[in-house]
């Protein structure tokens, strides 16, 4: 009994300690982002790794999701004789929800895991200690460009995902199911609002980018310095970033005003 209560207490303290560690690490990242030197060269390299290399998977997935949304939306709408509003269904679900969330999950799997594994193996092979020996701060030099590149590329990738999704919906709706092209586009344009929909989508993808960047670099930075530690860090980064994305998605949706 005594053991059990002590165990619960220790776990609580340990978790709070971990949260404090993440917060401290996050504030260090933020500080290094704002304070010079800005390391533009490193940022561009990391933008290539996270952004450009995720481009193909994001565009392909966006098109596929748009195609499916078009088909499913049509099958549901046609029961109510409302297939004219297919553009609104495809557009609103992509802009408000699927674009930012699916992009965040894809980027987590594609780039977040790579970031965690790379930093983790640098920890395991004592490269970060080597940097500290040369009085180079590894948070500033290694993790900050990676986290910041994830944050920056997320809204861009999300916007591309949405545009390719709209294109996929157009292909199915206009090309296969015979909805008038003008109807599809005007239904899109009449129903998507800048403040409620596009700005909300942008806020979501920025928050998701910050979350994925923070969690992936943090898990890599705190990896145990052996091969099992690197694999745990990679798995943990993907799982935690995905769960955090989905939970924050609900919170942002609720805060941004469902009531239009």
């Amino acid at each position: 009994m005594f053991e059990l209560v002590r165990d619960i207490g220790w776990r609580t303290v340990d978790n709070v300690y971990g949260l404090g560690g993440v917060a401290h690490f996050g504030s260090r990242l933020l500080f290094e982002t704002l304070a010079p030197p800005y390391r533009l060269r490193r940022l561009i390299d990391e933008l290539y790794n996270t952004g450009v290399l995720s481009l193909a998977i994001v565009c392909a997935s966006g098109t596929a999701v748009g195609l499916v949304l078009g088909l499913q939306g049509y099958n549901t709408l046609v029961r109510f004789g409302a297939e004219q509003s297919m553009g609104a269904v495809v557009g609103l679900s992509l802009v408000r929800e699927l674009g930012p969330v699916l992009t965040a999950l894809l980027v987590t799997g594609r780039a977040g895991s790579a970031v965690a594994a790379e930093i983790g193996s640098m920890v395991a092979s004592e490269q970060l200690d080597g940097l500290r020996m040369m009085s180079v701060d590894p948070i500033d030099f290694v993790t900050q460009p990676k986290a910041f590149a994830l944050l920056l590329s997320m809204p861009l990738l999300s916007a591309l995902f949405i545009v390719f999704g709209l294109f996929g919906g157009y292909l199915v709706g206009v090309g296969v199911l015979g909805i008038d092209a003008g109807t599809y586009v005007s239904s899109l344009e009449n129903n998507i609002d800048f403040r409620n929909d596009v700005l909300g989508s942008l806020v979501k993808s920025l928050v998701f980018g910050a979350l994925v960047g923070l969690i992936a670099t943090w898990r890599g930075y705190t990896a145990a310095p052996n091969s099992a530690g690197v694999s745990r860090a990679t798995t943990g980064a993907v799982v935690q970033a995905s769960v955090a994305t989905l939970m924050f998605d609900y919170v942002i949706t609720a805060l941004w005003g469902v009531g239009l």
Binding site: R41, R42, I44, D45, L47, Y48, G51, V52, L55, G81, A82, Q84, S85, G91, V95, S153, P155, L156, L157, A159, L160, I162, V163, S186, S187, L188, E189, N190, I192, D193, F194, R195, D197, V198, L199, S201, L202
Partner: protein, 163 residues
């Protein structure tokens, strides 16, 4: 890492295409549904506007000339809906122009249709369109239709009983 021209080019292409997608979403989709010149504000009061919403199109003879900006209850306490519209400044609309809330197809989006009259005086900025026609609410129409049918049947039945 060293400077690599191809990598830098790809990053540039990525950033620019991402920004272009964002701009498309914000301006083309998120922006006004009507992208032509606005500037002329007109008001119209309706008894019933149905599903009319801000950013619904304003149309003359099928051509989009503006959009609905705001919908509120009329401030004069008449419980009518007061619709603020933003239309092309270049339009010379006579002051006996009619405004009607119409529907695209049977269940489509609602819009404001303007039919210009023949008066010599023109509507100015901030003018009020006094001739309006309310939206047809399909539920009420169906309700009336069912009532009428019910009434007819009742009459026939009574007639049959009498003979």
């Amino acid at each position: 890492m060293s400077r690599s021209p191809i990598r830098d080019l790809l990053v540039g292409v990525f950033v620019l295409s991402g920004l272009a997608a964002l701009a498309y979403l914000s301006i083309q989709l998120g922006g006004a549904a009507y992208s032509g010149p606005g500037g002329l504000t007109l008001y119209a009061s309706f008894d019933e506007i149905g599903g009319l919403a801000p950013r619904s199109p304003v149309v003359i003879g099928g051509v989009k000339v503006g959009q609905v900006k705001k919908i509120e209850l009329a401030p004069d306490g008449s419980f009518r809906a007061r619709v603020t519209m933003d239309v092309d400044r270049g339009l010379k609309l006579p002051d006996d122009t009619q405004a009607a809330v119409l529907t695209q197809g049977v269940l489509g989006n609602q819009y404001v249709g303007l039919s210009p009259g023949g008066s010599d005086t023109m509507l100015r900025d901030g003018g009020e369109i006094s001739y309006t026609q309310s939206a047809v609410v399909i539920e009420r129409l169906i309700g009336k239709f069912i009532q009428n049918i019910g009434g007819d049947n009742g009459g026939k039945k009574k007639g049959g009983d009498g003979s």
